[in-house]
Amino acid sequence: MIAFGPWAGAYIGILALWSLALAMRRRPTLWKGRSLLILNVGFALAVLVTAIACGERPDNALAAFLVSIVVAGIIGTRLWLLFHIDRAVAEQIVEKCLGQTLAKYEMDGDRYTVHTAGEDMTIEIGNVPPALRIRLSGGRGSKKAALIRSLFGKQFCGSVPTLRVRT
């Protein structure tokens, strides 16, 4: 049997390092829930490959843990969090993206409603200390909505280090 303890410790260690790397950033950073899903699926696969290689199976606690982190990853796939940025700057960036995509929109409190050729898209910014939660929903059937999402994502550093090469 492959024991729960060491693997759970390794997983917590990875999350701790990732959190530390995020905390040490100074530039506005976008954390996408999809990256947690990739980590969790990769971690579960690593455990399964190890189990197959050793000819053993995970104990019940480890199996339940793997299922729970994959499910948590799936649930959080659409979650976007912004770090190292205040709300006013985040709103300015949203409005800049809407301007650059020639979007027609209305602002009602904390919510932007973007009119597209398909379903309207809504953009909401919420506080989830120490981060801001940004939710871009709707816009099905609209290419412009997809382009707004893409452009917004480009305004920030990613949550994992990126290699930059000067050409």
């Binding site: 990126t162 290699l163 000067r166």
Partner: protein
């Protein structure tokens, strides 16, 4: 040099199309891998005006410089990259019976070292698909 060309009709005036395209800070909105355009040194409509760009490809960010070659209001915008693999982008707008025909023509040096084992035809096909996405994205932005 290799070359890709795409065109399609857009429901807007040639002037509004070219005014949108000549603002190079808008380019990350319709060029998928282009992450940012910064440090514009002057009026982009004037030949020789330069700017910095960052492309994001497969998790690696490539940064470089580009500059305006030519701008004809309501008609044409040409710029070239001046670092790394050389390329020239030509956007044209032609009136077409109440609509505008948008054409994108890209000439580029094929980076032989970067190609590795990838066949030239595959590389060109990828560029062809990307340029098609660019004109389709422009159409969506200007019409939706």
């Amino acid at each position: 040099m290799s070359r890709v060309a795409q065109s399609l009709e857009v429901t807007c005036s040639p002037e509004s199309l070219m005014n949108y395209i000549v603002d190079v800070t808008n380019h990350p909105a319709f060029i998928g891998p282009l992450k940012s355009v910064t440090n514009i040194k002057g009026d982009v409509k004037k030949p020789g005006t330069g700017w910095d760009w960052v492309y994001s490809l497969a998790g690696i960010e490539l940064s470089g410089k580009a500059e305006t070659v030519r701008f004809v209001p309501g008609k044409e915008f040409v710029y070239k990259t001046t670092t790394g693999a050389r390329s020239t982008f030509t956007y044209r707008a032609d009136s077409a019976g109440g609509k505008t025909r948008l054409s994108l023509d890209v000439e580029y040096d094929v980076p032989q070292n970067a190609l590795g084992k990838m066949q030239l035809s595959v590389f060109e096909k990828l560029n062809d698909q990307e340029s098609k996405r660019v004109v389709e994205n422009l159409k969506a932005l200007l019409e939706e």
